[in-house]
């Protein structure tokens, strides 16, 4: 068993800042033009400096890469472009030495059609793997299940000429769904989990978990048997792998997602789940200059078990998903954020944070501040900490997966390979190109976005209240202000954000805290004490304040 460098702390993930990495795009350690585990090891000093607690790796397994690695053809090996299982284990060891944990994407719902399991299943319907996938003579079953990739897939069923039957797939037709009705499949996937856990991994982001089981007359999402299986996975983790975490990707409404965190008291399913509908509403609030959508979605967010946590993000490797908004809201978002149809993909917008916000520094800081102030653990997407751009002309989701921009030198300091050999060329445009936007220059510049993000992370980590505290919305007469209070033990934090592009004044009812003195948390400046009357604050355009409320020293 590898040494574990952490003090046992079962709730570490509630206070953690996560950082999502596309291995191919981070750093090329063997000069072949694509990122790999050797390269990741070299950049751990940077991640440690940035202050993140946990790396989330996009799929790293052997794969034909027809869906960014979410089409896995061997669960127990590393994609050769990224290195070997030994390289992976070494990366985990080095990360742990720096106090950084590592979780990785794992797709439980389906495999690549190139996976030997599927090849065996299609070749021999009476063989041992004959019913490891969902086969049918007709494509009439489960008609109430929606098609997720509406741009490319006409149906959830595809006909396999080899076996002469239809197979079920909730995503691309080259990603057949595993048949969880089969106990051998259930066991095989547990073995996969154990394999990586034994190598020291700190957990998994479970991709596409709502779709494990199917049942006629349902939409085939969030079925009770899916939860039952996930509870079994959790029990295995709790029994043999303490301190590891399961993060559910269930792109569903919070009321449905909460079920993935298990029993309201004991929290016996996944440790964490992503909060999908929050993110589009944050963008909507900033664009409309109205904080109402943020208040509303948080009101509609149910309580979660005490030992569970939301994963919150501004952007990630997928498109900005608009499945969890109404049709009107979706039209609005398209209109405002994806005027060019190339920016749209399925039900979403494929752009990075900086271009979505027109590269506005105040807007980027405001969005980070709101994200970091909310109850949940923030997940950053690689490159967004320096305000990297995207390339909407690249196919599928590659536009937001260009190489990390390390320096202003050749290949953005990402690789020593020839320019033409790079898996994707780094951005070169005058605004977001690597000569303008890179880690080296921003490290040197105290006022850079990177330095600001590092400061924000450090500040959040000083105050457990952000990860552990309660959330109390603080509504006012001014709809352009998003204000709330976080509270944990003696720590009381007041967060006030102005989503408008003009300066705003707001009167907040803080009478419950009368006598306390707000101390601004970045500059440690004391503001006038809170009295019985409404507390008046003025905020700069897109400005925000975080205050710690303290009792004055006697």
């Amino acid at each position: 068993m590898p040494d574990r460098w952490f003090e046992r702390e079962p709730l570490w993930f509630k206070r953690a800042v996560f950082y999502e990495i596309h291995i191919r795009g981070f750093f090329d350690g063997n000069d072949d033009g694509a990122g790999d585990f050797r390269g990741l090891i070299e950049k751990l000093d940077y991640l440690q400096w940035l202050g993140i607690d946990c790396v989330w790796l996009l799929p790293m397994y052997r794969s034909p890469l027809r869906d960014g690695g979410y089409d896995i053809s061997d669960f127990l090996s590393i994609h050769p472009d990224y290195g070997t299982v030994a390289d992976f284990a070494e990366f985990v060891e080095h990360a742990h030495q720096r106090g950084i944990r590592v979780i990785a994407d794992l797709v439980m719902n389906h495999t690549s059609s190139e996976h030997p399991w599927f090849q065996e299943s299609r070749a021999n319907r009476d063989g041992p793997k004959g019913d490891w996938f969902v086969w049918s003579d007709t494509d009439e079953l489960y008609r109430d299940a929606r098609v997720i990739f509406v741009d490319t897939e006409p149906s959830n069923w595809s006909f396999d000429p080899v076996r002469g039957q239809y197979y079920w797939h909730r995503f691309f037709h080259h990603q057949p769904d595993l048949n969880y009705e089969n106990p051998q499949v259930q066991e095989a996937m547990l073995d996969v989990l154990r394999f990586w856990l034994d190598l020291g991994i700190d957990g998994f982001r479970l991709d596409a978990v709502p779709y494990l089981y199917e049942a006629e007359g349902t939409n085939c999402e969030n079925l009770p048997r899916t939860h039952e299986y996930l509870k079994r996975v959790r029990a295995e983790i709790d029994a043999h792998y303490p301190d590891r975490v399961l993060l559910a990707e269930a792109n569903q409404w919070p009321a449905d997602v909460v079920a993935y965190l298990g029993d309201a008291e004991s929290g016996d399913e996944c440790h964490m789940a992503f909060h999908f509908p929050l993110m589009p509403r944050m963008f909507m609030a900033v664009r409309r200059e109205d904080a109402t959508p943020i208040y509303e979605i948080l009101e509609r967010t149910p309580a979660i078990p005490q030992n569970a946590q939301w994963g919150l993000f501004l952007r990630n490797h997928d498109e900005l998903t608009l499945e969890m908004v109404t049709a009107d809201e979706r039209d609005y978002m398209y209109e405002e954020y994806a005027k060019d149809p190339r920016m749209r993909l399925n039900l979403g917008i494929r752009r990075r944070l900086a271009p979505l916000l027109d590269n506005g520094r105040d807007e980027m800081e405001l969005m980070h501040a709101i994200l970091f102030s909310l109850p949940g653990s923030p997940v950053l997407y690689y490159g967004d900490e320096i305000g990297m751009g995207d390339n909407v002309y690249l196919g599928d989701r590659d536009g937001v997966r260009t190489p990390m921009q390390w320096t202003g030198d050749r290949n953005a300091g990402f690789s020593h390979a020839d320019w033409a050999q790079l898996y994707l060329q780094p951005l070169m445009d005058p605004v977001y190109g690597y000569q303008a936007v890179n880690v080296e220059a921003q490290l040197r510049t105290p006022t850079s976005l990177l330095r600001w993000v590092a400061r924000l992370i450090a500040l959040r980590k000083e105050h457990p209240v952000f990860g552990l505290g309660t959330y109390e919305p603080l509504r006012s007469d001014n709809p352009r202000i998003f204000a709330h209070i976080r509270r944990w033990e003696e720590d009381v934090i007041l967060c006030v954000h102005n989503v408008a592009r003009s300066a705003q004044a707001v009167q907040l009812d803080l009478s419950a805290h009368a006598g306390m003195v707000p101390e601004e948390m970045f500059g440690r400046t004391s503001f006038p004490a809170v009295g019985e009357l409404p507390y008046l604050l003025t905020l700069a355009p897109r400005g925000f304040f975080w205050f710690q409320l303290r009792w004055p020293a006697r």
Binding site: D3, W5, E7, K43, T407, V439, P446, R455
Partner: protein, 442 residues
């Protein structure tokens, strides 16, 4: 062997080496134990897990004896003696979950006979030490961290590679099992009749400053030799010389810059601070100038917590002690390779402290310009001895050194403001010196 849980908690919590005094203990249990001596009085050691209310835990090494069936949890000298005798035999003892292996370094003089006089000496944060016949010292690690203890690793390497100015390693014992792999204790030569480097400085800066300057030149040479030896084995991955990643200096600069910003933001109004008050931007500007385009040199294993208090003068030469690194950092952090100039900066800052401490503690004054001379002597000795390929070329080495000194002085400023406001003038003077010397010409 079973312990009453409550008695166990009460015993461990009472110990000087128990580090979590403010935390609520929820459970305590013996993870594993081995019998060191089976004859009466029976002696044993146990690994005890203390589990806190927050769900976190620590593991401690507990030594105990059994007399006529009665349990005595005590730091008995007989036990220490027994541990040393067992070390000499190189035995492996078997517990339930793992083993305790004892290793002796061949030819270590202090192991040659039964120790007659055994005494416990001062306990530190997480370990206790026992001196045997004034010849050997056994350090018993109490709060255990997984992995190889960096002090053992360093002493072993220095002993095997012939560094003459550290006390040779005599042996060690370690636990190895599914729960934990950890160093439990190390035995090394006891430096007899040595004079503590810090005390010697305070005595001689006033009484015989020139003699001490001579000694500092020698300390520079010894430091240079130490770094050269630490960088001498390309085949040992834990010690081989490495080129730092391209961001190294950028990350260091950003870290120090943020630290400067923070400490100056909260600088109180105080006459002692007048010389630097309102000069935060100047300090940051100097940092920018110092780090602009400077190469980072190489990184190696270093002492890690290097100052006069870690040295001794004995038998006409310096002995370097305490290779454990900064105690508050994790093993992994302490084992990180760093620029050797970080050690050098630590020692130079220590001279500044000594020059002022003479007046704080002894009521005397250091001769004019003593600190400058001390720096010159030490650096002359150091640069003349150390393997130059470890450092950035030429004047760049002194610029990088100034960056580490600034890092250290800013840390000291914050520390003294919090803990010893009377001493704050020392880092203040250090910072003033660093911003007033031209960055490019140095």
């Amino acid at each position: 062997m079973s312990f009453d849980e409550q008695a166990l908690i009460e015993h461990v919590v009472r110990q000087r080496w128990y580090g979590a005094k403010s935390r609520g203990v929820a459970h305590a249990q013996v993870l594993d134990s081995v019998i060191v001596r089976a004859d009466e009085p029976r002696l044993a050691l146990a690994l005890v897990e203390m589990r806190y209310e927050t769900g976190a835990h620590d593991v401690y090494q507990l030594l105990y004896s059994l007399r006529g069936g009665e349990l005595e949890v005590d730091d008995d000298v007989a036990l220490a003696r027994e541990l040393v005798l067992t070390l000499r035999t190189g035995t492996t003892l078997y517990g339930v979950e793992g083993t305790v292996e004892f290793h002796a370094v061949p030819g270590f003089a202090g192991l040659g006979r039964d120790p007659a006089e055994v005494r416990w000496v001062g306990a530190e944060q997480s370990n206790t030490s026992v001196v045997l016949d004034d010849e050997a010292i056994l350090k018993v690690f109490r709060r255990l961290e997984p992995g190889v203890n960096p002090e053992l690793e360093m002493l072993r390497f220095l002993t095997e590679h012939g560094f003459a100015n550290s006390p040779p390693l005599g042996g060690w014992y370690a636990y190895s099992g599914g729960l934990l792999v950890a160093t439990l204790g190390i035995l090394q030569t006891f430096v007899r009749g040595g004079l503590d480097g810090w005390e010697l400085a305070l005595d001689e800066i006033v009484a015989s400053p020139d003699q001490f300057l001579e000694r500092l030149r020698r300390l520079g040479e010894v430091t240079g030799e130490m770094h050269s030896v630490l960088a001498s084995d390309p085949n040992d991955p834990a010690f081989s010389v490495e080129t730092p990643s391209v961001e190294t200096l950028g990350l260091l600069t950003a870290t120090v810059d943020e630290e400067i910003e923070r400490v100056f933001l909260e600088l109180p109004d105080d006459d002692e601070l007048a010389a630097i008050a309102g000069r935060g931007e100047e300090v940051r500007e100097q940092l920018r100038l110092l780090t602009h385009g400077v190469p980072a040199g190489r990184v190696i294993r270093t002492h890690g917590d290097y100052h006069l208090g870690q040295t001794m003068w004995a038998d006409g030469d310096w002995v370097i002690l305490d290779f454990e690194g900064e105690p508050l950092r994790t093993f992994a952090e302490r084992r990180r390779k760093r620029s050797p100039l970080r050690d050098v900066a630590g020692m130079l800052r220590s001279f500044a402290y000594a020059a002022s401490a003479v007046s704080f503690l002894r009521g005397a004054e250091a001769p004019d310009g003593w600190e400058t001379q001390a720096r010159t002597q030490f650096l002359d000795g150091y640069f003349g001895t150390v393997d130059p390929s470890l450092l950035p070329p030429g004047a760049a080495a002194e610029r990088l050194l100034a960056v580490f000194e600034l890092e250290k002085a800013v840390y000291e400023l914050r520390y003294e403001l919090e803990h010893r406001p009377d001493w704050v003038s020392i880092p203040v003077a250090g910072i003033v010196r660093l911003i007033e010397q031209p960055a490019a010409a140095s």
